[in-house]
Structures are given as structure tokens and as C-alpha cells.
């Protein structure tokens, strides 16, 4: 597939033409209070689009796997599935979130295909965009950094720092037929070799600019964290201020656990089955029923849940995914009111403790 260029002056038309034909989900300004907050929403017009966003509150997986999703409606003993995926474009997804979507793509199809996810995923054209603004808690430059972003259909890079003679605009790489279809909405030119090189250098050079770093290899981290499993004092310390509020999980792009609940309408004959994002940091996540109406919680303490979260992200899923289940977006660090969720701080603490122990 080819690589194209669209002039800055043609870009708004491209977005508006696309909006005439397809729903487009893209980053928009959600609120401006102390600072700017962004979220992925259905775009109304090109003015709303904020490709200069730093991070969104929730990850873009919500386009295929919404926080609340009615999956079945029932009435008078009959039921029908409510999956009704229509063609849509998810545009402006940063590379770290593309990596996370690649993970959920795998996890929702391994062994058993979750059609509630794949129906929406398959109906979506996924357009990655380069990171123009770096979130203050980001560390994607040093985690999962050797894993290529893949699974997207096109990649949009805003060309900056150009000479006067060069035209402002975006490089648009197309990887497959889905990406190719978008070309009909705009005035695309074939990109020059110079433009391709400029985009490459923009996307390469940003990798070193994250405010936080983890300078360990994947194996080093996995092995040391795994060996720290029984360091109870350490996990107690890390979880001391934890509210079990689940904010770290519910903002995480790689988390994929959900709960399913049925509810009845007031007529007591009809109702719906809804699935919700769940969170293993909440107290009752691992609570199961046992005989005689009793229950058993196999992760009773905040420390046990904190340990489980870190093990899931850094150890347990590595073999399946070929990488950690963490892409360094920093959403959990921002969302944690007690500021104890930041994987950079946690991993550094574990690594330092292990280094001291081995002295």
C-alpha cells in the first residue's frame, strides 16, 4: 500500500467529507478546568477534532468494548442479541493505544471469540495518529517499546518543523483496503521521499521524550517481580493507601475484565442483560459463592489485589502476548487519587528492593 500526503488546507474537508458518510470517533476536548481533559467521542465536525491531545480519560477500546453494553434484550420469555455494529472510523489513536487494542484483539478472540467485541472491532477502520503532546505521566518510550504497533489500517502523522518551501500537512500511510477506502474523502497526493523521512524522524525522535523511564528489560522486570511474590511487607507497603476504587483498572487500555448483570424493566416481563467493565482492584472481584450460601474471597486484602494487578500487567500475560500488558500510557497514574498506582514507581520500588536484598 502507498503513502500519501494531504495539505493542511485540505485536511478539514477530508474530515467533513468522511463525517458525511461515516460516524467518526476521535479525540475531542472534554473539559477545561485546571487543565485540558480529552475523550474519544463521536465527532460532530472538524472543529472539535483535537489531534494535539495528550491523553484521553478512557482508552479508545470503548469504541468496541463500551463501559456499559447492553448485549441482550428480553421480553415475555424471548430474547435477542443487541449487537448491531455499523461501519465507523476510530481516528487519532496514539501508537501506545494501538498496541493495547492489538492485545485486546488477541484476548477477545483466543479460544472463544467474543462477538460483542469483534463485531464492533471488525466494523471499525482504525487510524493511528502521531503523538503531538506528551502526557505528564507517560512512559511508553520505555515499556513495550520494542513491540511494533500493529492492527491499525492507516497512520496519520502531522509534519512539523518544515522549511518555508515545504507544504504543511499530514503524511497518511495506508496499510490495507480499509485504510485505502478513506482516500476517497480527501485530496490526497502521493507522498515524497522527503515527507516519508520527515514523518519517520518525527515518530522516532518522540520516543525519547517521555517524562518517565523504566530502564529494565522485559525479562528483568518479569523475573524480579515474579520473585517478589512472597515479599508480603513490600506489597503491604505498596497498597497502604489503596482505596480499592478500581480507577487504575477502569482507565487501563489493556484491562478487559467485565461483569454481566440482568435487570428487569418496571413491567417485570422485559429487561436487558448488560455487561460492565469490571475491576480486579475492587474488593468483591474475586469473591465467589461456595456451599450453603457462603462465599470465599481469594484476594481479600488490598495488598493481594495490588500484587495481582502488577503480576497481570508485568508477568502472567507475557507469554501469551509476547510483551507486558502495559503500554505506558500513564492513565492509571493520573486516575489514582492516592497516587500509588503509577507502574513506574511501583516497578522501580520492586526492582530496588530486590537489588538491595541480593547485596
Amino acid at each position: 500500500m502507498n503513502t500519501y500526503f494531504i495539505k493542511e488546507s485540505d485536511f478539514n474537508n477530508f474530515i467533513d467529507n468522511m463525517l458525511l458518510q461515516l460516524p467518526v470517533i476521535a479525540p475531542v476536548l472534554s473539559s477545561e478546568s485546571v487543565e485540558s481533559f480529552f475523550s474519544f467521542e463521536f465527532l460532530k465536525n472538524h472543529d472539535e477534532l483535537r489531534l494535539d491531545y495528550d491523553i484521553t480519560i478512557l482508552p479508545p477500546k470503548k469504541a468496541f468494548f463500551p463501559p456499559r453494553q447492553v448485549i441482550i434484550e428480553f421480553s415475555h420469555g424471548k430474547f435477542h442479541g443487541t449487537v448491531n455494529a455499523k461501519k465507523q472510523v476510530l481516528l487519532g489513536v496514539h501508537p501506545y493505544d494501538i498496541k493495547a487494542i492489538d492485545q485486546t484483539d488477541f484476548l477477545f478472540t483466543e479460544n472463544y471469540e467474543d462477538i460483542n467485541y469483534t463485531a464492533y472491532r471488525n466494523a471499525t477502520t482504525l487510524v493511528c495518529s502521531n503523538i503531538q503532546t506528551i502526557s505528564k505521566r507517560a512512559f511508553w518510550g520505555s515499556i513495550s517499546h520494542d513491540v511494533p504497533a500493529r492492527g491499525h489500517d492507516a497512520f496519520l502523522t502531522k509534519l512539523t518543523d518544515l522549511n518555508e518551501a515545504e507544504e504543511e500537512g499530514y503524511l497518511f500511510e495506508v496499510f490495507n483496503e480499509k485504510g485505502h477506502e478513506l482516500l476517497s474523502f480527501g485530496q490526497f497526493l502521493l507522498a515524497t521521499e522527503l515527507q516519508i523521512q520527515q514523518a519517520k524522524s518525527i515518530n522516532e525522535s518522540i520516543k525519547d521524550k517521555c517524562p518517565q523511564q523504566l530502564n529494565y528489560s522485559q525479562d528483568e522486570m518479569a523475573n524480579t517481580i515474579c520473585r517478589s511474590f512472597n515479599n508480603t511487607a513490600l506489597w503491604d507497603e505498596l497498597a497502604q493507601d489503596c482505596f480499592s476504587c478500581g480507577s487504575c483498572n477502569t482507565t487501563c487500555p489493556t484491562c478487559y475484565c467485565f461483569n454481566v448483570e440482568d435487570s428487569w424493566n418496571i413491567d417485570q416481563q422485559s429487561g436487558q442483560r448488560t455487561r460492565y467493565w469490571d475491576s480486579c482492584m475492587t474488593e468483591d472481584f474475586a469473591k465467589i459463592s461456595s456451599a450453603d450460601g457462603q462465599s470465599e474471597n481469594f484476594r481479600k486484602t488490598t495488598a493481594a489485589r495490588m500484587r495481582h494487578r502488577i503480576m497481570r500487567k508485568m508477568v502472567y500475560l507475557n507469554d501469551k502476548l509476547g510483551t507486558q500488558a502495559c503500554v505506558g500510557c500513564g492513565r492509571c497514574s493520573i486516575a489514582c487519587t492516592a497516587d500509588i498506582a503509577d507502574p513506574v514507581n511501583i516497578i522501580k520500588r520492586i526492582m530496588e528492593e530486590a537489588a538491595n536484598d541480593s547485596l
Binding site: S31, D284, T337, A338, D339
Partner: protein, 258 residues
């Protein structure tokens, strides 16, 4: 219970009865639809009849505040298959428990009537301090749709699901900006979800009106309210008194149980 209409009765103790009024806010159509499935046999907000017969579901609003009410509670329990504490006053004594640590509240609240004998009362306690409670509808006031969900589960012979996760989960599902990130404070981290987190969505902090989750981290609550929420140390420590005086680590647990 599924085939015959369940007999439901409402009773009130120390409360504003706002939770019962909330039920009438379904509007005519929905309220009458609900009556297709339950038979309300006592509900003084909307009918004058009372009952001394057995009941399927007793919804009790209000706190237990005086010994004279003990027998009435026991009588309701004896007649009811299921007892629901309806609203936060019944569940934890909610806002009523504010008086439990204030010796001089009477003169502030009742002014020159403070000495009237009928205004005298003991510490506010949850009704569970006197009788066994099967289910709780949290909230000040209750969310009528949550109540409907609980009643629906009971009508269908299912166990009602009351979240034991905090409001933060619902704020995230709503993609609401955290009050702390907006330069504010909040009690959502320790407060039982199920309300749908409307307050932070409207830009105001959660005050904890639904009570704590089962195991709130109260140590971290004071710390975060002070360090991140900008409240004074004293304010950060006393903040949860408003709706959770009886649930706090330092609450006088003896007075709760008697």
C-alpha cells in the same frame, strides 16, 4: 412470590420521609405499572390504610433513636418475610448520626423548644441494631430505580446486587473528570456506588450519602482529602461525619449495638 402479588409495606422512624416520597416520583404511569406486580398495603405518603397482617416485604425508612420504637420494629420484623432498610437513615443512621457526637445539638436545632420532652432522643442507630435486615437500599435519598431493581430481583426470586465498589468506578464508566484533577475534593473513593455518580458528573464532590463500601480506607481518605483535596487536617479528618458518623473507625461502636 412470583405468582401472587407481593404485599409491600412502608414504615418510618426518625427520617424526613423523603425516601418514601422518592417512590412517588416515578410518576403516575410507572407507579401504576409497578402496582400490577406488588400490592402496597401500608404507605402513608399515598394512602391512609394501615395493616397489622403479615407482609412479604417491609421497607423501613429512618433511624432507631429511642427505646419506645423498639417494640414497633420487632413487630414489623415478626410480620415480614423480608425486611429492607430503605434509605441511609435506616441503613447506617446516615445524617441523623451527626448528633451522636454533639451534646449541644438540641439548642441549635430546636432553639427554645430544646427542653420539650417529645424532642428527647438517644443516639441515632441503624435499624439493624434492633432487628435483622435482609437488604439495604442505600442513599440519601434512595435512587428509585435502584429500589425497583432490588424489588424486581426479589419478585423473580433472585439475589439483589448492591455494589461493594466505590463511586470512582461509576465516574470512570461515565468518563467523568475526577474532582481531584479538577482541583476539588471528593468522597467517591470510599462511598458505595450504585447511584450512577451524578454529583461528580455535575461538577460537585461526592459527599458519601450512600455510606461507605464494606472496607473503606479511612486512613487514606483523610490523607488524600488533605494533601490532594486541599482540606485542612481537621476538615479532612471530620469530612466523613456528615453521612457516615456511625461507620467511622473512631465511631462509638458500643452505642451502635447497645
Amino acid at each position: 412470590m412470583a405468582n401472587n402479588k407481593a404485599k409491600v409495606a412502608f414504615f418510618d422512624f426518625a427520617s424526613c420521609e423523603g425516601c418514601q416520597i422518592e417512590l412517588t416520583n416515578y410518576g403516575d404511569k410507572d407507579f401504576l405499572e409497578l402496582l400490577q406486580h406488588i400490592e402496597i398495603v401500608e404507605f402513608r405518603e399515598a394512602m391512609s390504610e394501615k395493616t397489622s397482617d403479615p407482609i412479604d416485604i417491609a421497607c423501613i425508612e429512618g433511624s432507631y433513636t429511642r427505646q419506645a420504637d423498639c417494640q414497633r420494629l420487632l413487630d414489623i420484623r415478626c410480620r415480614a418475610k423480608v425486611v429492607i432498610s430503605y434509605g441511609q437513615c435506616a441503613g447506617t443512621a446516615g445524617i441523623n448520626a451527626l448528633k451522636n457526637h454533639q451534646a449541644d445539638y438540641q439548642s441549635f436545632v430546636y432553639d427554645r423548644d430544646a427542653g420539650m420532652p417529645h424532642l428527647d432522643s438517644d443516639n441515632a442507630k441503624p435499624i439493624s441494631s434492633i432487628i435483622k435486615v435482609d437488604y439495604q437500599v442505600p442513599g440519601c435519598p434512595v435512587n428509585r430505580y435502584e429500589f425497583l431493581d432490588i424489588i424486581s430481583h426479589l419478585l423473580h426470586g433472585k439475589e439483589p446486587v448492591i455494589p461493594n465498589y466505590p463511586v470512582c468506578v461509576e465516574c470512570k464508566r461515565n468518563e467523568t473528570i475526577c474532582r481531584f484533577l479538577a482541583g476539588d475534593h471528593c468522597m467517591g473513593m470510599v462511598t458505595r456506588a450504585g447511584c450512577g455518580a451524578p454529583c461528580p458528573a455535575d461538577g460537585i464532590p461526592c459527599e458519601g450519602c450512600r455510606g461507605f463500601v464494606d472496607n473503606p480506607n479511612q486512613y487514606a481518605l483523610s490523607k488524600v482529602l488533605h494533601e490532594k483535596g486541599g482540606l485542612s487536617l481537621h476538615r479532612a479528618e471530620s469530612k466523613s461525619l456528615l453521612f457516615n458518623a456511625n461507620e467511622r473507625d473512631n465511631a462509638n461502636k458500643e452505642s451502635e449495638i447497645d
